[in-house]
Symmetry: C2
Subunit: 352 residues, 2 copies
């Protein structure tokens, strides 16, 4: 089966954004009534997904997508904690409903109600709610809730430890994923996302986080930002700084394949290797449409992966086995389905 | 000939750093006497370079290096303008002396006395002094004088136009190069440098800067940060945003070859092409020593370039011709030498 570990609900019905707008308006003007999460019908949800992520997933031969709220819409820069919690809950509830309506096609990944430098208690509460009550299999953690101003401690700082303890306890990995950039220097999709990927990997190089949390697992999206392209720089820097070779981090850190041209995926595979890659498209994400030079849709990353000439085992690792290792709750769900149907390769989740 | 367009004077005699320390101490304690630039002998300068950059340049077969002050030492985050100007002048004067002592091996590139969001008048004054009086052929421009807090407008903002007018007038390009990171989220060499490269390229994608300044030229170092690795992302984003294809920027924007492993250089050449690459090592820079797996010194980027299998014309473009196009003042200096010696290929600058 083919699991795309990085999809976003970028196509929510308009009422969800209206709720967000009302939330922000209420923060600006406390005389307004508090905003309430929108009532959205199953049909509206179905339509918003069937015409978009589900259609594209099907067209490209994917079976299952890990699905989280729109990354740029998380907007952790808004400092009010109750607002952040209400927004994360509403966004996660919608994602949960998508996965209930299409249980064979989507598995849920959570948005957390982070705020700039804010308390992690409510963040952990929402993570536990999503995992324990709603069957989420992962979460997105934003290393820069300030949205391009980077005022929160590095992800190796003790500030984050309570969240990591919860992640380890719940057996869920985190994708390191910033949200919208409020800083005009950083285009959200063309700079901020990639910078965050790069910065956090270097934070991991510098610290012993995984000695303290041996089972803590992160996914660095967008092909690892600049890291694989500069793998020699990271190896040389680590040696100069007396740190372990960055390859040691690959026990706990995975890269996704959201790199939108063949030479990039070629390098990613050559440098990082199949054991540390997770097939992903980020769709519907940063790019839309096809490369006029090749006719390939930019984010149809399965085409690039299929062009790598992988062995059968390597291909299975990238498109399925690694994901099941990184997301044990997903694996258990798939394995339970396999036992029920007696089909070893989880073909029941193949899209009808 | 082989021109390395990215070298730094990271090995200045200790007295230069002592001057800097005294400068900063005087800012903290105004009762201290003002710091004065150190008296440094020619012998001390000679030794600091002969054993380091000059030795390595020679060992690797390079002829000429564009040489600028230590990038992380520019420290534009210190907000006091007179301090910044005195520090830039002292640093540039030292670089100038290196190029006077070894005129065949080094050509000077300036540090500018930027401050966070500060006036550009003194910045332009120092650029003019360096170019008009001292024969500098280029400069480094820091897009984030705040050192990791990114409080200055994007490089496409009108804030920068007076500097660009001076650069165009003087016929000098700028390398986009940040200095030390004050933000614990960004390791200077492992994140901040690369993030800046990535961010500024995306700023260029979004604006029409080169319609207004058709001859303005920038070098984005460190192989363009994350950009070539994500070239498909940039092309797709540009199309989605209604912007010209990023390849259009390559009339004004060049990437250097400071990427420290073969797969990275392979991708850089494949994606960007020989016409837009400038041979560079960044030495003595981020990395030191050799890859234990290959025995190749990390920053011996000529090895990686030579392994590309370039045609003669392509190789000449990357190691010489592009540099002479980007740095017209360097070209005129070399051409004058060639006319004097009657040697067309400037072999007089080959190191003795």
């Amino acid at each position: 089966m083919i699991i795309d570990i990085h999809g976003h609900y970028t196509t929510t019905p308009q009422a969800h954004q209206t709720f967000r707008d009302e939330q922000l308006a209420a923060l600006d003007d406390p005389t307004r009534p508090p905003a309430r999460a929108a009532a959205i019908s199953d049909d509206a949800i179905r339509e918003s997904v069937e015409l978009n992520q589900l259609r594209v997933l099907r067209e490209r031969g994917g079976d299952l997508m890990l699905f989280s709220p729109k990354a740029s819409g998380m907007e952790h820069h808004v400092p009010d904690q109750p607002t952040a919690t209400a927004w994360a809950r509403a966004s996660n509830d919608l994602v949960h409903r998508v996965t209930q309506l299409f249980p064979d096609a989507f598995a849920p990944v959570a948005q957390l109600p982070q705020t700039p430098g804010g308390e992690l208690g409510p963040v952990i509460d929402e993570l536990r709610r999503c995992v324990d009550e709603l069957g989420f299999v992962g979460c997105n953690v934003n290393p820069d809730p300030a949205g391009g101003y980077w005022t929160t401690p590095p992800m190796t700082d003790e500030y984050w430890y309570p969240l990591y303890e919860a992640m380890v306890d719940l057996e869920v990995p985190a994708m390191v994923h910033v949200s919208t950039s409020c800083n005009p220097n950083f285009h959200t999709l063309g700079a901020h996302y990639l910078n965050a990927d790069t910065s956090v990997f270097m934070q991991f190089v510098l610290a012993d986080l995984f000695e303290r949390f041996p089972t803590l697992t992160f996914v660095i999206p967008h092909g690892g930002g600049a890291v694989p392209y500069h793998w020699g720089r990271y190896r040389g820097l680590a040696a100069r700084l007396g740190r372990p070779d960055p390859s040691e981090l690959l026990r706990n850190v995975y890269f996704d394949t959201c790199v939108y041209h063949q030479p990039g995926i070629d390098l990613l595979y050559k440098v990082i290797g199949a054991d540390s890659l997770l097939f992903a498209s980020e769709m519907l994400g940063a790019v839309r449409g096809a490369d006029p030079q090749t006719g390939v849709e930019w984010d149809d990353t399965l085409v690039y992966v299929n062009n790598l000439g992988l062995t059968g085992d390597e291909h299975r690792a990238v498109v399925e086995a690694n994901a099941r290792r990184v997301y044990p709750r997903l694996d258990r769900r798939l394995a339970a389905g396999e036992r029920m149907t007696g089909v070893a390769t989880a073909s029941h989740v193949r899209l009808r």
